[in-house]
């Protein structure tokens, strides 16, 4: 045991017996963090569930004011970024240094497109006066007494997509760090834990969006059309 202490590497720190043990510990630690994230977003999903069950019709009208084609295409972009992320992890597993950098840059690109489209959509909301708290707030097709409930929908919309976008921005920061490290040849087939756990984070953020898209954009669209 004592003889591997002087030859400590990234893949095998002194406190671990084997590389596999260290890797399992990192993966488990990341998942425990992601569970706290599930509960973090879970509170907002609970708020959404309560208010949608109280005001189903207003939520349907408000949801239909969002552009679901842009939403669906943006979902596709995010799914593509998850694909390139998992390809970056695969390139690390195979020790293909150049491919790690290429796939991380592609992931960054798709993530950036997603955030750009999101910014465009938010800007649309400002132009349409669909900002909760705005004096000029007005949603067509909703009675005056329902306008407050429509504002509730948009409060939840901005809180949930905003928190999701914040996670994306943090993800972009993580990707930039990884790209710099990967270019220096930091990752190899025996050590790529940072790419691996960053991938878990990126896919988690993707899963949150997988639920946000139908819950926010696709409520009872047939009622309004």
């Amino acid at each position: 045991m004592a003889d591997h202490a002087p030859t400590e590497t990234f893949a095998l720190r002194v406190q671990f017996d084997t590389e596999a043990q260290q890797k399992d510990a990192s993966t488990l630690g990341m998942w425990i963090f992601l569970v706290t994230e599930i509960m973090f977003f879970g509170g907002l999903f609970a708020v959404y569930t309560v208010y949608r069950s109280w005001y189903p019709n207003v939520f349907a009208i408000a949801s239909s004011s969002l552009n679901e084609i842009i939403g669906a295409l943006n979902t596709g972009v995010l799914l593509l970024s998850s694909f390139t992320m998992v390809m970056a992890v695969r390139a690390s597993q195979l020790g293909q240094q150049k491919m790690i950098v290429i796939f991380l840059i592609l992931t960054l690109l798709f993530g950036g497109i997603f955030l750009g489209v999101k910014a465009y959509e938010w800007n649309q909301k400002f132009e349409e006066h669909h900002i909760p708290g705005q004096a000029a707030f007005h949603l067509d097709g909703v009675l005056p007494e329902g306008q407050g409930h429509a504002q509730l929908f948009f409060s939840i919309y901005f809180a949930m997509t905003g928190l999701h976008a914040l996670h994306m921005v943090i993800g972009v920061g993580i990707l930039l760090t990884l790209i710099v490290q990967a270019r220096k040849g930091r990752f190899s087939a025996s050590y790529y834990t940072p790419v691996d756990v960053a991938g878990l984070y990126w896919h988690f953020v993707d899963i949150i969006w997988i639920f946000l898209f139908p819950l926010l954009y696709l409520i009872d669209r047939h009622l309004v059309k």
Binding site: V35, M39, G43, V50, L80, F83, A189, H203, I219, R221
Partner: protein, 104 residues
């Protein structure tokens, strides 16, 4: 420990491409089916498709397929706690006023 790839399962590119295509198709289906009048079932269908997509991403992209039992237990535990959060919250909000208790 000489070969670290020994205990690493590397999926083929084809597998990942198939999963990506399945996810994209599911996104198209959920968008199209939202325009169809399914009554109360539309939310069930939407959440069913979203859950299926989540399972695909978790199993393949997040490598749960190859992960240790302890990691799987932690993931299931997280989902269980989320279910408790949502279900117990709704037992309150969905049942308020049913008994006509004063000050409901």
């Amino acid at each position: 420990m000489s070969d670290p790839q020994e205990n690493t399962h590397i999926d083929s590119v084809g597998t990942y491409v198939k999963i990506l295509l399945a996810l994209l198709v599911a996104t198209g289906v959920t968008t199209a089916v939202a325009r169809v009048d399914l009554g109360g079932f539309s939310v069930v269908v939407a959440l069913g498709i979203a859950s299926a997509k989540m399972v695909l991403v978790a199993l393949f992209f997040m490598h749960i397929r190859h992960s240790t039992k302890l990691t799987r237990l932690v993931v299931l535990g997280g989902l269980l706690w989320l279910a408790i959060l949502l279900l117990l919250t709704m037992t309150d909000f969905a049942s308020r006023g049913i008994l006509g208790v004063p000050g409901k």
